[in-house]
């Protein structure tokens, strides 16, 4: 009796495991048919998102590049040439450049995932299509996180600049120490 119960438990667990491992089981037949029905509309939306993201990447990327190459780096260099303390700002610039490079990589991966998603025929492969949306969504979240971090570093640099400004030009003293 005990053995029969044990065998029953083992069989039940194995079956449950098999069912959970079966990829098709995560979507019902009704959901699969809904994906097929909405296929062309979803694809049009995704294509529009793809195009808008490409534009956003170009325009935002241009601004991010300009901030580091044409603004942060020259100011850091100028501060160093004037033998003033701008270590915090240099550190932020290094972090910013690292983050910018991360943003480029994360976006590249996201774009690849989205392009692959657009190539899947959702009317014939609804399950594969749906499963490919998840990693694309995750990757988009990573891009968003790196953008947030970049924006934080831009704000951080600005507040460090304000501190530098108030240190170098205190309100009661008009000229800086090295300006003679």
């Amino acid at each position: 009796m005990k053995r029969a119960f044990f065998v029953f438990i083992v069989i039940t667990l194995t079956t449950c495991q098999t069912v959970s491992a079966d990829p098709i089981s995560s979507l019902t037949d009704d959901q699969l048919s809904q994906i097929k029905q909405n296929c062309s509309r979803v694809k049009t939306t995704l294509a529009r998102i793809h195009a808008n993201d490409g534009l956003l990447r170009v325009n935002q990327g241009q601004q991010y590049e300009t901030i580091t190459t044409k603004l942060m780096a020259p100011l850091n260099s100028r501060i160093a040439l004037n033998q003033l303390d701008g270590v915090d700002m240099v550190k932020t610039t290094v972090d910013y450049n690292t983050q910018l490079s991360k943003f480029r990589d994360e976006y590249r991966l996201y774009e690849e995932k989205l392009s692959n998603l657009l190539h899947i025929d959702c009317s014939n492969e609804p399950y594969n299509f749906y499963e490919s949306i998840k990693p694309t969504r995750k990757q988009r979240a990573r891009v968003a996180a790196s953008v947030t971090k970049l924006n934080q570093l831009i704000d951080q640099y600005k507040s460090q600049l304000d501190t530098f400004y108030s240190k170098t030009f205190p309100t009661h003293k008009e000229s800086p120490s090295n300006e003679q």
Binding site: Q34, V42, L46, G54, L55, R78, P176
Partner: protein, 129 residues
């Protein structure tokens, strides 16, 4: 010994007779290899992602901003109040051009994409008609 020598001579003669064909095939192989390497660099370097001349970007191509404003800050010179004020202005101008909340992941949610919506494509088409 003679046989192998004759064979080498035969091969050489065949090569000489088909020199032009061999050149064409070699050129094609070199071109294909170069293109494959170039395409790989294009895709892996991230250049492809900022290339709006690709198909599918026709609609948005014109909206790409051309950066014409001179924003470069002088890397030499004294640090004065005016120079820092000038920097602050340039920096703030750039900061304003950045969209704060971009690449929102909820755009790809099931609800946003309306994947499981009951209004099928055919229903939508009918309603638009």
């Amino acid at each position: 010994m003679n046989n192998s020598k004759r064979r080498i001579i035969n091969i050489y003669n065949t090569w000489r007779q088909n020199q032009f064909l061999i050149m064409i095939v070699s050129v094609i192989i070199v071109a294909c290899t170069s293109v494959a390497i170039a395409m790989d660099i294009y895709n892996t370097s991230g250049a492809a992602q900022v290339d709006l001349s690709r198909p599918g970007f026709k609609e948005v191509r014109k909206q790409a901003n051309r950066d014409t404003t001179p924003t470069s800050y002088q890397s030499d010179g004294k640090i004065t109040k005016q120079s820092l004020d000038e920097f602050k202005k340039l920096y703030q101008d750039r900061q304003k051009k950045i969209t704060q909340s971009s690449f929102d992941p909820s755009v790809l949610s099931d609800e946003s994409l309306q994947i499981f919506s009951n209004n099928s494509d055919t229903t939508n088409n009918e309603s638009t008609e």
